[in-house]
Symmetry: C2
Subunit: 434 residues, 2 copies
């Protein structure tokens, strides 16, 4: 088997066998196949795509390139939730405790923020004492006791994906649906889950700008699940404005706490409940999805989801009092209000720009190795569809240093689109792929 022949076949649109895909990925991981051949293969894949069979083979081989977790000794159906990345998206910290409170086992393996999107691990680490680098033994023990644990992805999970991603990043081959789908799914399946709820974001603040692309990605991931015997459901949800009001790590934890205490924003509450209900249903706690929805709402309303979150925070070394006393969380030292230049209706809030501005003042990272400032971020005062008067506060920027502040403020101000007429209300959950 010669690498160049496999590149030529992919370039011509032929289907590669599982052995051929293994030859490529194993050869790449072992260093026998050089970067320059794999990058040509990846670009050919961008243009030629993959068949369903290739896609599941590719995912399977990437998964098998490293360690796979075996959680089968922990009773119950293991269900994770994954978002393709949004701005202000803190739903994991809400739906996971709800689902766990309802009896689902939730091994939540999360990432860190990069670029304009935040990461679950970064948000959790803004809680004083919270440790995401717990051992695998503790992870298992906590899952058995609480039904929920948060952990980062170990370097041993799908190392082929890690190398591939680094190469894609510098060769213009990130935006390929089969490559994105296999990257996500190989990591998730390696984590020993039985089922997965996906939140595929679409819109200005998301990786997928168009619903048709988001749908293709969702279908690809659901299809991989079907072939690899995992239940997968994907919600396609709107990211044409940040989710909730808070963007920034500690600020988002505050909003999570409020939401788990039934005082959260309507959009965030609604999406978190739906994600939790999907997890409960895939977790076989209820027979129907409607029953799952009722159960999710009960667990939020009766305070057991909030209690579950506090228990897990304590179990991972965090100070759960900080969830009730926000002065115990990192707090910004300065605040700047952004005022509306005119009267009108908010037609959109460009989520990517809010995310970028927030990242620019320290809430996120430009590169993986950058440190973040947990205290800073943006709190919206209005959402799309609302009426504002000239001079009214659109949002507040919370900062700890002046660096990049003016630039960020300008970006935030421009992110608010104000129109003379009342815009149509936008759907939050656009479609479900299963």
């Amino acid at each position: 088997m010669r690498t160049v022949d496999l590149i030529l076949r992919k370039r011509g649109g032929d289907e590669l066998s599982v052995d051929e895909i293994r030859f490529l990925l194993d050869g790449y991981t072992s260093g026998e196949i050089p970067d320059y051949q794999l990058s040509a293969f990846l670009m050919a894949t961008f243009f030629s795509g993959m068949t369903d069979r290739e896609l599941s083979s590719f995912t399977d081989v990437m998964m098998s390139s490293g360690e796979t977790l075996d959680l089968s000794d922990i009773p119950g159906v293991k269900v994770d939730k994954h978002s393709t990345g949004g701005v202000g998206d803190k739903t994991s910290l809400i739906c996971a405790p709800i689902a766990a409170a309802a009896g689902v086992v939730v091994p939540m393996i999360s990432g860190r923020g990069l670029g304009h999107t935040g990461g679950t691990l970064d948000k959790l680490e803004s809680i004083p004492g919270f440790r995401t680098d717990i051992s695998l033994d503790q992870f298992r023990a906590q899952l058995a006791e609480h039904g929920l644990a948060f952990i980062g992805q170990s370097d041993e999970i799908a190392p082929a994906d890690k190398r591939l991603y680094a190469l894609r990043d510098v060769t213009g081959t990130v935006e390929s649906i089969p490559l994105i789908a296999s990257s996500i799914m190989s990591k998730k399946i390696a984590e020993g889950i039985d089922a997965l709820v996906l939140d595929v974001k679409v819109g200005h603040g998301a990786f997928m700008k168009k619903q048709v692309e988001a749908r293709r990605l969702a279908q690809a991931m659901v299809g991989i699940g079907r072939r690899l015997d995992k239940k997968v459901v994907a919600l396609i949800t709107d990211m044409n404005q940040p989710l909730g009001y808070a963007v920034g790590n500690a600020l988002e934890v505050m909003e999570v706490s409020q939401t788990l205490q039934k005082a959260g924003p309507a959009d965030l509450t609604r999406l978190s409940l739906e994600l939790a209900a999907r997890m409960i249903h895939l977790g076989k706690i209820t027979a129907t999805l409607d029953d799952a929805r009722k159960l999710a709402e009960d667990k939020l309303m009766d305070g057991s989801a909030y209690k579950k979150f506090k228990d897990v925070v304590e179990a991972q070394g965090g100070n759960s009092q900080a969830l009730d006393r926000f002065d115990l969380l990192p707090n910004a030292t300065g605040m700047r209000e952004i005022l509306s230049p005119r009267t009108g209706y908010i037609s959109a809030i460009l989520a990517e720009d809010i995310g970028r501005a927030s990242s620019m003042i320290g809430a996120g990272r430009a590169r993986k190795e950058d440190a973040i400032d947990p205290a800073v971020g943006v709190i919206l005062e209005v959402k799309a569809g609302e009426k504002v008067d000239a001079g009214a506060v659109l949002c507040r920027i919370y900062y700890t240093g002046e660096e990049n502040l003016d630039e960020a403020a300008e970006l935030v101000e421009d992110a608010f689109r104000i129109s003379g007429t009342k815009p149509d209300q936008r759907e939050l959950i656009l479609e479900v792929v299963s």
Copy 2:
């Protein structure tokens, strides 16, 4: 400027500016841009193509990456001829002496054989004593005195193309019309020519299998010439059987000698005369193409072309007596006849397979560094359209060792397509692009 952004723009079909192309190619040549980024760019180019403007910029930048010859102090219009590679294609050794005898200055810079196609330098070196590694000073002096000199491409000509070609070869990005066209034209224009006659081969034995592809390649090269102020004419010619009867280095030199003495095969004579006429016309020796055709025929018929070839052979250290006494050329030690399995008409002779068989017994190279055996090859006894009886000789294989001989014989036998009905006669010169 970031390389990844240029890859993304090419991937999306945008036109790159000359500065952006220079950034890419200079960065690659200097080692600042790694192979893996350039290979992704090349694969994106395979799919997205290039505009006419990009194509001439790309060619120009590749050309400027190394030395360029300046032949302006030698009087007369400098016209070269280049073939995209065929089997039994020895036209350069015939049309160049004809054109030179007619007064054209022909700086013939040639290559070596690779794969199933032969190379002009290898053929010439089968003449005892002939040296293709003459100095540039001798090359110039010989051009001034004889109007014709044969030389190999120096390493200093278009080094960017050399690196690019090596990368394309292993990344499945060879078969891209803009990349092929710019590769050929950058080298040719760097060689200080004023005009160029191209012979674009099409068919089984050629790189381009379909006439539509050959036409696109021809148009691309003629277009580059137009933008870079060089007169370029391309003939698209048939390669669905070897040209002439001889395939293999010394065997082809014998056929060249016969053809220059008016005893050559009809197809080879006809194409060589037409190529020479095009060179004479572009060289402004005659006002019309018809006059050029007459002049070419005169120079062949009156023996002056043959004399020119002998003078040049002597000038480059070769023994020109070997052109009259073939026992002075390298001769094979064994011969095997391939017989027709049945009676019928030759409908095609798969040229690539004849070329591969010939290469397999030593006439060509699998890799650049391989040595060749000048004596061996194949002599056809029939051509397409002819009637053969069962048991008649189709061709003879000339060899010096038994290695690969049976396999080569089988390949050669299968290359003859014999049908029950007389096939339509195939055109040799299919079209002209100028």
